[in-house]
């Protein structure tokens, strides 16, 4: 069974139809790209999927459970994690605390333990510290563990955002324009990272991206949207040669 099934998703904003009859199925372990020109509805799909909007119509089934109408944090706890297009780290907290915050929903102690610093608290914190430093090590951030995250260089902040999303133990990772502001060399490295993430953490990845290089290079399947409708989907080569896609991006007669 597919990990994520979105069927007949439609979203109206007043009279504006932002998405119409959107369908997608993600199989476990896939890397799928969602592309389209500005205003195509990618971000809306994203926001519906993460619980920011409740869709006008349609169903979203993730891992066997319907997530329509659930709150953002519940969806995250169900196993969908995301990164942000513009970096949204907890910039005043340390690097390691960013990871620990993402682990919060699974912390093994409650409010009372937090007030009294019980044995349970110390155990939990010790375990969490080990867990967080191991995760940071995978992203080569361990030497910055106690630095304030806002002071990291841009590339490291991007890596930390992905690491933080992984600390929520997701099954599906949604990357919102991870290559934004990257040069070609960094983008190549990012593609490597995305494949590595999928294998290492046994993830399914949905990528929303503008840089065609990255999308074509890493995605196994691509879905193209324009004006809220799916205009094309399939393998990268197929999408690249589709006249409707060229038209959507470049206009008629290009």
């Amino acid at each position: 069974m597919a990990l994520l099934t979105i069927s007949h998703l439609t979203q109206f904003f007043g009279g504006l139809r932002a998405i119409s009859d959107f369908n997608i199925e993600l199989e476990h372990g896939e890397i799928v790209g969602l592309i389209g020109p500005n205003g195509a509805g990618k971000t809306t799909v994203f926001n519906v999927l993460t619980g920011i909007y409740v869709p006008t119509k349609g169903t979203i089934v993730f891992d066997g459970q319907n997530i329509v109408g659930k709150k953002t944090h519940q969806i995250t706890q169900a196993g969908i994690a995301r990164t942000f297009q513009t970096i949204r780290l907890f910039s005043k907290s340390s690097v390691i605390d960013n990871i620990k915050i993402a682990y919060h929903s699974r912390i093994p102690y409650g409010d009372a333990d937090a007030f009294l610093h019980t044995h349970k608290y110390w155990q939990g914190e010790q375990f969490l510290d080990d867990y967080a430093i191991d995760l940071l090590r995978l992203f080569h951030l361990e030497q910055h563990a106690d630095d304030i995250s806002g002071s990291l260089p841009y590339g490291a902040q991007r890596r930390l955002e992905i690491a933080r999303a992984l600390a929520t133990k997701p099954k599906l990772l949604i990357l919102d324009e991870p290559a934004a502001g990257m040069n070609p060399a960094e983008a190549d490295e990012l593609m490597e990272t995305i494949r590595w993430l999928r294998d290492k953490f046994d993830l399914t990845i949905l990528l929303v991206e503008h840089q065609m290089r990255v999308v074509m290079g890493v995605c196994e399947r691509i879905k193209v949207m324009d004006f809220g409708e799916t205009i094309c989907e399939g393998l990268p080569e197929h999408v690249r040669n589709d006249p409707r896609v060229c038209e959507a991006y470049l206009g008629k007669g290009a």
Binding site: S93, K100, D129, T168
Partner: protein, 333 residues
């Protein structure tokens, strides 16, 4: 690791006990012409500092660490003050003359006062914490004034005449225990996973929610327990002054705590301790300046805010506030 941890705690407690012993000694020894150096006036001042510290630290939980701008903290103090005073004075008629009955009732009364305040905090917080910034500020301000006005018109609470004849249960020992226990509990909370999610909400609520934190629940809980400590402070305050009046708890009082907090450093527990400590003492120490006092005092405030925008402490903490960290394990690749 365990050794360092207990060691540090023992040192901190010892430091506080030492301060207590010194104050107690000088309040008994007749050094100044047959009278103690620390007289009743100074003891009262010390007690007020303790109360103001707990009020400011608890306000810092909401305004500093969670980043929600509340300006109605004195309202919750009023709830606690009136509840506890009604229990000890009007309903149970306990007195200081019989401490074995009096103190248990007093402790119970201030805790009930705290719970009532927490309930009020929940009622105010649950619907209004989805508001942000200025809007939340206005709602909390209104809640503060609403509580004050309700007390003013409630005959049972003696309305605008104020409630008097409250037994003076608050002494130096009560203040020390109350202040230390409250600050330690709140410090512990800040240095926990829950405390980290408070800071996450402050830094980016959207990201916090996306990381699986139930931000609504966390905000309301912080608001309620902050109100709880304000309520307990109110109870201790009522049993110190022995007379409370609804106008003691107007929003001007709330502003006072905001000033202490932001001058001390809103994102630091140490700041929320040092702010009220300095600025409760300062006006008293400047009494010699007569009318100029209220010119110099705000000037000092303004200058502090210009030169230390993040408050006196900024983001720093005294070492006795911090939780000792263990050494991290080495790489295990």
């Amino acid at each position: 690791m365990t050794f360092i941890r207990t060691h540090r705690t023992v040192a901190t407690v010892a430091a506080f006990v030492l301060v207590y012993v010194i104050i107690k000694t000088f309040s008994i020894l007749p050094l100044a012409e047959g009278k103690p150096l620390i007289n009743g006036y100074y003891l009262q001042l010390i007690a007020l500092i303790g109360i103001n510290i707990v009020m400011t630290v608890s306000l810092g939980m909401v305004n500093g660490f969670t980043g929600q701008f509340s300006i109605g903290h004195a309202g919750f103090m009023a709830v606690g003050a009136y509840t506890s005073a009604m229990i000890t004075t009007v309903w149970l008629h306990v007195s200081v003359a019989n401490p074995w009955v009096g103190y248990p009732v007093f402790i119970l009364a201030i805790l009930v006062g705290g719970l009532m305040a927490a309930g009020a905090g929940y009622l105010v917080g649950a619907p209004s914490l989805r508001l942000k910034g200025d809007y939340l500020a206005i709602v909390t301000l209104c809640a503060n004034e609403l509580i004050r006005t309700v007390i003013r018109v409630t005959e049972v609470l003696n309305g605008p005449r104020g409630l008097g004849g409250i037994p003076k249960f608050t002494n130096l020992e009560v203040i020390f225990v109350f202040t230390i226990v409250s600050v330690v509990l709140m410090r512990n909370y800040v240095f926990s996973s829950h405390g980290r999610s408070m800071k996450a909400i402050r830094d980016s609520e959207i990201a916090a929610e996306a990381m699986g934190i139930n931000t609504t629940r966390q905000k309301v809980f912080v608001f309620a327990f902050s109100a709880f400590f304000a309520g307990v402070s109110g109870g201790v305050f009522a049993h110190l002054l022995q007379y409370i009046h609804p106008d003691n708890f107007s929003f001007v009082k709330s502003l006072e705590y905001l000033i202490y907090l932001y001058v001390g450093g809103s994102e630091s527990i140490s700041g929320a301790i040092i702010g009220p400590a300095i600025f409760t003492l300062l006006p008293e120490l400047m009494r010699g300046l007569k009318d100029w006092r209220m010119v110099i005092y705000p000037l000092i405030l303004i200058l502090t805010m210009i030169f230390r925008t993040e408050g006196i402490m900024g983001l720093k903490e005294f070492s006795f506030i911090l939780i000792p960290q263990r050494k991290r394990k080495e790489a295990n690749t």
